[in-house]
Symmetry: C2
Subunit: 378 residues, 2 copies
Amino acid sequence: MRTPICDLLGCEVPIFAFSHCRDVVAAVTRAGGFGVLGASTGSPEQLEVELAWLDEHTGGRPYGVDVIVPSTYDERAEVPPAELEAMIPEEHRAFQDRLLAEAGVAELPADERARLRAELAAGRGGMTPDGARRLVAVALAHRNVRMVVSALGAPPPDVVEDLKAHDVVVGALCGKASHARRQIEAGVQVVVAQGTEAGGHTGEISTLVLVPEVVAVVGDRAAVLAAGGISHGSQIAASLAMGAQGVWCGTIWLGTRESELDDFERTALYATPTEGTARRRARTGKTVRMTRSELSEAWERPGSPGYLPTPLQGVLYNEAHARVVRARRGDLWSFPAGQSVGAVTGESSVGDVMFRLQSEYGEAVERLAALDTRENLS
Amino acid sequence: MRTPICDLLGCEVPIFAFSHCRDVVAAVTRAGGFGVLGASTGSPEQLEVELAWLDEHTGGRPYGVDVIVPSTYDERAEVPPAELEAMIPEEHRAFQDRLLAEAGVAELPADERARLRAELAAGRGGMTPDGARRLVAVALAHRNVRMVVSALGAPPPDVVEDLKAHDVVVGALCGKASHARRQIEAGVQVVVAQGTEAGGHTGEISTLVLVPEVVAVVGDRAAVLAAGGISHGSQIAASLAMGAQGVWCGTIWLGTRESELDDFERTALYATPTEGTARRRARTGKTVRMTRSELSEAWERPGSPGYLPTPLQGVLYNEAHARVVRARRGDLWSFPAGQSVGAVTGESSVGDVMFRLQSEYGEAVERLAALDTRENLS
């Protein structure tokens, strides 16, 4: 399954792993794929620690970093977290607290709450234009960082220039063909065409529809990766048949023993069927595909006060999520995941997954070739 | 692209065309594909006329019929239309009438309204268990009908038996792997795995996710067709790589000159982008993916009285739709269509589409084979 992007980025197979967990990024990279660390929720100092660790654990192989460089500036993004807490309307806070209290979920102990808020405070800067630039600067100081991907549209021109000056490949996620067009014009070299079935922030167009559209728009001006719903090697064959040069997966790594999820969360994930996700605004105020739970659905039902704008909804929801994890309540646990979640049914390792994907890919290619031959013979 | 289902059903290529329009069904069948006539909205007498015409216009080739055989019985489905009209709450009727009046859309002339209601009355029986059995009986009297497909789950045991006794292949649409499991147990031989991106009644799982899941569940006990979002030959290669034996398309035929849409509707369809559809309940009370318009969206907004249950919502909406078509108002026109709609941008013929799909398929297969060879050589 080698495609030109393997030469561009220096990996063996075009299987890209998006993860917030450095162990996953390292293991995929060592196994011949290309790991991409989701860095937008951490501080520059944290990112420096992660990348130093990755440099030590990827055997000199190149890897990537994913940041959110907002093209539109949201003033609230730089408001200190303590002020944000004060901006949350009493009605919304009471709604969530009542819901959890009625479900018997304890409040956070004061020290845990303080630690959670400090973590949020440290990480929040990454979502602002300047914060993202600081993250990019950290990434550029690590020469094994071979690609920086912008999760929300094309990075601004100065960031693109800076990356290219350092010979770092510029990637971006897109959910519509029109996004891809703008990204190509902005100098993006790797367009990740992410379908609605993906976990996290997604659009409405499915991967099967989006990939051929983006391939047609992009032509030979950039490489296209297919993202969203990919958990099986036959889907990699499908993606390459549609003109993608590789696949970008997130959800399938959550179930591996290398992932950041603890045992409780992992068990909840394994129990979630394919139809157990939905695009909901409960987590950030923006639409995120995540596993459904009583908590996520309560925000949708009559009696909900409605969603707060970003980042207020996230500040409120984060604490609820921490309470749910601490109480080990699978019925209230929601986590960003795509429709691939149904294929994640038990513990495996990154190495197992990488091997399985490639075997299944081989079978799918042979299946198609056999059909083709049969036709030629008839 | 020949697969075993071509031998089973007697077609040359496994491209299935679902259409309410006999001209599309005939043209696809003549071009080597397999046309399937959507019959559930017509009367047995109408179906007899259509099938007699198809027998004359398919050159002796086999084709299919799609019916809705409800497994759960809805009492309202057999209520005479005049009584249904009386069951529509004044609030809902007033909401729709006000919306159209404010948009300057005239009421239907009395004779047109009478004709529309008579049509609805004649067709409504098809949605009941007995009505569907009458449609099946008509289909079985035409020996070129080689497959009967049930649009909502597996047909009841007596219908399956009857079909098999006549050597007619039994198909069913499914939107979840669990549906496929039940369908196989009920004797279904062709499972159409229809993703959320399809037009009409759809579920939430995408085609790319659904197809490998259904293939895994079905094994070699049935043939799987991929449906939803398919407008390009590379997606056929993708579907076959994932283990489907063919593809089932609906939306792409709407733009052909053979389709049932008039010039106004066709023009509105060509102008609809990929992101111009949504799953909405305005048309039938159940979730239907259709092109968005001011009319469909008004039912979603604050001020909407909410949706009526099936079939009341449909009775109300049908008249609004007829008014909109008569007034040629593209801004208010919604029509069942999938995300393939963005690929339908101008007039073509069924023959053109069939040729294009096969050329694109060939290119995609070659693209994948070339990658594979490159890997083997390296």
